[in-house]
Subunit: 350 residues, 2 copies
Amino acid sequence: MDGTAVILTAGLYNSNAGKTAHGLVRGTERYDILGVIDSKDIGKDAGIILDGQHRGIPIFASLEAFVKETSQRPDYAIIGIASSGGKIPEEMYPVLKLALSEGISLVSGLHEFLSEMPDFIALAEKHGAQLIDVRKPKHRKDLHFWTGEIKQVSCPKIAVMGVDCAVGKRTTARFLTEAARRAGLTAEMIYTGQTGWLQGNRYGFILDSTVNDFVSGELEHAIVSCYKEQSPDMIFVEGQAALRNPSGPCGAEFLVSGQADGVVLQAIPARKQFKGWGHLGFDIPPIAKEIALIEMFESPVIAVTINSKDMSRDETMAIKQEYEAELGIPVLAPLYEGLDSLIPLIQGLK
Amino acid sequence: MDGTAVILTAGLYNSNAGKTAHGLVRGTERYDILGVIDSKDIGKDAGIILDGQHRGIPIFASLEAFVKETSQRPDYAIIGIASSGGKIPEEMYPVLKLALSEGISLVSGLHEFLSEMPDFIALAEKHGAQLIDVRKPKHRKDLHFWTGEIKQVSCPKIAVMGVDCAVGKRTTARFLTEAARRAGLTAEMIYTGQTGWLQGNRYGFILDSTVNDFVSGELEHAIVSCYKEQSPDMIFVEGQAALRNPSGPCGAEFLVSGQADGVVLQAIPARKQFKGWGHLGFDIPPIAKEIALIEMFESPVIAVTINSKDMSRDETMAIKQEYEAELGIPVLAPLYEGLDSLIPLIQGLK
């Protein structure tokens, strides 16, 4: 564990933009999360706001209020929101500067780097705080090309893919890892985004900030290192975006370079169009077509998981039955049913 | 045009590793190519060695021999080979240093950057020469996210894709652009690799050295800029790798982010396995399966082009007939038949 932390969400905790914060509230082994700083839902529990589960993480109105009420100074303040274009939001500058002046290190997964902004550099140096840009690309000499060594990994490797961005791939990968561990198995999750790193996963890389030529090699290196060092019973790879997302298609890497033995595909039935691109007429393809596309890459889709956003429990269960009848594979609603029933299926894959 | 140039190939001109040199010998509007420096085939014409066509580009034994025999000093010396891992080959250091000490600027498309190597920096400064690393990533502030503006491009956009790396996608894209121009049309080729830039194409980006999150946006930006500034009758996009190449699958970008109206698919019938990965059992999928995969992304494959490497003319023509009967679309051997017959087909696409 790196230390204690608060999450900064600038009024956006209870919105899609708060995805990074949501991942941290769901659970992280990297930080001890002491609170969320937001202008809404003050005094409530961040877990309750997220999904109705109490997690002992209160929401505070400001960093000052946090310090006053808890008499604690966190080691880190983590930017918990995604912003348009990946910029550090200007309205966050005051709280970021206040944190630095208290010696609190900043952690950001945004595209704009705190460690390249002179004001922040100066303040961090003055107060002995760190500026940690999770998405800062590695130097070329630390990057790996694909070698084919992935062929030597003999445990099942499952890619968790999705029909769109922001459908819960990372959460499903985490649930699967936890389910395997509950079943007495050793399992590891390979992170491919900044939140996966923030949550404390040990193996992975940040796909979208990697120079394209090294994406497949970094993926292979993460899986192979995990396999050699941990000998896990199974490995879950967090997917990114979707094979046909127009703003950045992604997925073939997990299938051919990562040699996925099976795919768990996350669906979001209430969403009909690619997030952000509906106005241009980009519909999410039907689930059966997405499965057919994935299987052209030679990895079978072993189950579909349902993100039940904007659906009642009854609606979710009705869709589950409809999909199961159409697709002939297990379909699960993770929030209602968990994913434990998939683990024996995955054990049988190799 | 940037100036005169010689190409350095260190004994590898007549091999697959000489791909960059081959592209420059085929034609470039960026440089006036005066010669190739290689240890083999000295005195012969580089075009004859490549494909039997004389191009007035002699091969010289050394840079000294070039200067002595032609009484010319080129503006640029271009590294014309691909190397393992993208390193500047150490055996090239002497000729590179000699060039710099004569005030000749160096151009490299390799992953290792001359402009980060102290010896070369010092020599370049001393003699007023430049170090041009074509593949050096752009700064983040100069990169574009995908916006959907591609939807406003109303001329046909053709992606030239291939069944593997190094099958001739760039050459076919160039042939198509030239064929369109011969037909009295305005056409532009969007480059996506360093050789396409070296050849003088005005719009494009280097896909493999671009941070992954910006690949789709840089592609869109290149196509949209080309369309707005040149109003071409048609646009050809140079593809990269192959959809199922295990060491780095690529292609969905051209189809969904680049909104290709059609695909020309380059086949290499004599090659049965992915280049470099046959020992691991990675077979190139049958051509009909590759077409089926591409068409799941909603872009029709309008023609197949054949790389006739390791096949006689008769063998090539037999395969052409076989493919045509199987696939029901035009199949052409560009080196024997040209590609002029495809232009009316492409004009009819929009």
